[in-house]
């Protein structure tokens, strides 16, 4: 197990290196620098700014300085838009908000998805199954940017149960997390139902029943472990999706998170902030994929040899 984790961990290093190089080159080579949009930049001011950020150096030198600063000091540089702030400060400020939003969404997705999926499998072709397929189809076909505003319209403006925007009290958390989580709840429900149905037909389930295990025990102890495998495999893409989904959700609900900051920084051509955020997201997605792989192998040791 340790060797498996170590090998997978080492494999992520070249991936990260390729990613960092590609993003760096892309951001440097595209037309339009970070200081073009400023109103009153004389060539002289622009030169000074570029010297301050080191953009006047040769490209390879800039790259190795950047890489060195990340590896040695964990320093992502200074924002070109907010010149008095470093990228690390901005991330430290905004990322916890996005992290909390993502965590709530994932919790909602797992809670709704797993319970709906298990109920649908146990009560196949009964009302619980139909309710689940309703949730699944809604989650898959109604995009978050339609569902979000509709939920605001109904639950916040019409009934006034929750708030429509902001990020201060718990009422602010409900609608964004629900909107972001429901899509993944839908996929998880579908996968759980499929996985559980397959497992519930296996011989060892019949054996467990024959030995007198209660139905609840059979479902939660015996069937769930096998039935969960496809769900665990889906968690990697789900986490990546929740991260990118947060861009839209944070815009709709005006949440001061990193997703909205990322989109804004791209519009502002804030090279260092964009690059830093992309790095953070990449490390996060690749790291969580690694965790998902390890959990998968732990649940199903056969996978280790594939």
């Amino acid at each position: 197990m340790f060797r498996f984790i170590a090998r997978r961990f080492l494999q992520t290093i070249p991936v990260l290196l390729v990613l960092i190089t590609a993003s760096f080159l892309m951001l440097r080579l595209v037309p339009g620098g970070p200081f073009d949009s400023e109103k009153a930049t004389t060539p002289e001011i622009k030169r000074n700014l570029e010297a301050y950020y080191g953009f006047d150096q040769p490209l390879h030198k800039q790259f190795f300085t950047y890489l060195g600063n990340i590896v040695l000091h964990g320093d992502l540089g200074r924002s070109t838009k907010y010149s008095n702030r470093t990228v690390n400060e901005i991330i430290a400020d905004k990322f916890p908000v996005s992290l909390e939003l993502g965590a709530w969404s994932l919790l909602i997705a797992l809670t709704i998805g797993l319970s709906a999926g298990i109920l649908a499998a146990v009560y196949k072709n009964m009302w619980a199954d139909y309710v689940t397929s309703g949730i699944v189809m809604t989650g898959i076909c109604v995009p978050t940017f339609v569902l979000g505003p509709i939920l605001v319209l109904v639950c916040a403006i019409h009934f006034g149960w929750f708030s429509a925007s902001g990020w201060y009290v718990w009422q602010d958390r409900v609608l964004p997390a629900l909107t972001l989580g429901i899509v993944y709840a839908a996929y998880i429900a579908r996968l759980t139902r499929g996985g559980m149905l397959e497992v519930l037909g296996q011989d060892y389930i019949r054996t467990a029943r024959a030995k007198g295990a209660s139905e609840t025990r059979v479902i939660l102890r015996h069937a769930l472990r096998g039935g969960l495998l496809p769900v665990v495999a889906f968690l990697g893409p789900a986490i990546a999706g929740i991260i990118t989904g947060s861009f839209v959700i944070e815009t709709i609900f005006q949440i001061p998170g990193l997703g909205r900051e990322f989109v804004n920084s791209a519009f502002n051509r804030d090279r260092t902030l964009v690059l830093g955020t992309v790095m953070l997201y990449a490390v996060l997605i690749i790291g969580l994929n690694l965790v998902v792989d390890v959990v998968q192998v732990w649940l199903n040791p056969k996978l280790k040899f594939e």
Binding site: V15, M26, P31, V146, L191, I243, V263
Partner: protein, 302 residues
């Protein structure tokens, strides 16, 4: 002639005697599809939507960018079926025009993804060995990357060009197609007819594109139908962030974005585009699921 691989259909369905009587697997699948009510509903809805968006604007008395500042935010009624927006533009006309763009993006970007995915997967699956391992390792790596983020960066930095949009989305969506095609080609590679084609002296390119790819059309069609909604969703997602289609052109994503901003006072601006968009996604998904059942394809996706 087209036929599905025997692995996909029970041998009985493919008995030579039956084939001679003219019940091809495709016709068989068509009959099964027709019995699936939801798929038929999806198909008909899509035809209606495509016709409406294609022809509707010719019959509309309003232009999609024709403003009327005396009649802003009109409620839905007999002269404006879906009301008007903040510039007095007819929402129904804009919805039909937006549909043209959204559907075009969906089809063209899917075509790009299809071309890349099928060629890549076919080459990897056919040659196997080290080349296959290398090519699929690249796919694995790309899967792990935050690709939507790259599309956002591309759109921001290279300008919000609609052709770039096609290729950016297409370049993201080909991965699963490549995996499916690779798996199918690998299983077909060992079939006798491929060996026969080779012993007749046909070149590799001809064998892949003329003999093998027609035999994997089933899974490819199914997955294509299921890719279109994903692509349309991504287009709308980008438009919602202000990165997709630019004014005065519109797409369903743009209309939803505009509607979401005004929904407190004028909910119809959100509800109509949102409903039409969701209905399209519903229909495509139902049709795709129906095709999957009819062609009895085990999708690699879920």
């Amino acid at each position: 002639m087209l036929s599905l691989s025997p692995k996909k259909l029970p041998a009985a369905d493919l008995a030579p005697a039956q084939l001679e009587q003219g019940i091809s697997p495709w016709r068989d699948a068509w009959h099964r599809l027709k019995r699936n009510k939801l798929a038929v509903f999806g198909g008909i809805t899509l035809i209606v939507l495509v016709l409406a968006c294609g022809l509707g604007p010719f019959f509309s008395p309003y232009g999609y960018e024709q403003t009327n500042l005396d009649n802003t935010f009109a409620k839905p009624g007999s002269s404006h079926w879906m009301g008007t927006d903040q510039l007095g533009r007819d929402l129904f006309t804009r919805l039909l025009y937006g549909g043209r763009i959204s559907i075009t993006v969906g089809l063209v970007a899917t075509f790009v993804a299809l071309t890349i995915g099928v060629s890549y997967g076919a080459v990897a699956g056919f040659f196997g060995g080290k080349l296959d391992a290398f090519m699929m390792r690249i796919v694995d790596i790309l899967y792990a990357l935050p690709f939507t983020i790259f599309v956002i960066l591309l759109m921001v930095f290279f300008g919000k060009n609609i052709f770039l949009l096609f290729f950016a989305i297409g370049a993201v969506e080909w991965l699963t197609m490549a995996r499916i095609v690779r798996g199918q080609i690998m299983s077909l590679k060992k079939m006798e007819y491929v060996e026969a084609a080779r012993s007749l002296g046909f070149g590799t390119r001809r064998i892949i594109f003329r003999h093998m790819i027609p035999n994997i059309l089933g899974p490819v069609i199914v997955y294509t139908t299921l890719t279109i909604p994903g692509v349309m969703m991504l287009e709308a997602f980008l438009s919602f962030l202000g990165l997709g289609v630019q004014a005065p052109m519109s797409s369903w994503g743009v209309l939803i974005k505009d509607g979401a901003e005004k929904m407190e006072e004028y909910p119809w601006l959100l509800i109509f585009p949102g409903t039409v968009f969701s209905l399209t996604l519903f229909s495509l998904n139902f049709l795709g699921d129906g095709l999957r059942d009819a062609l009895d394809v085990r999708s690699a996706k879920d």
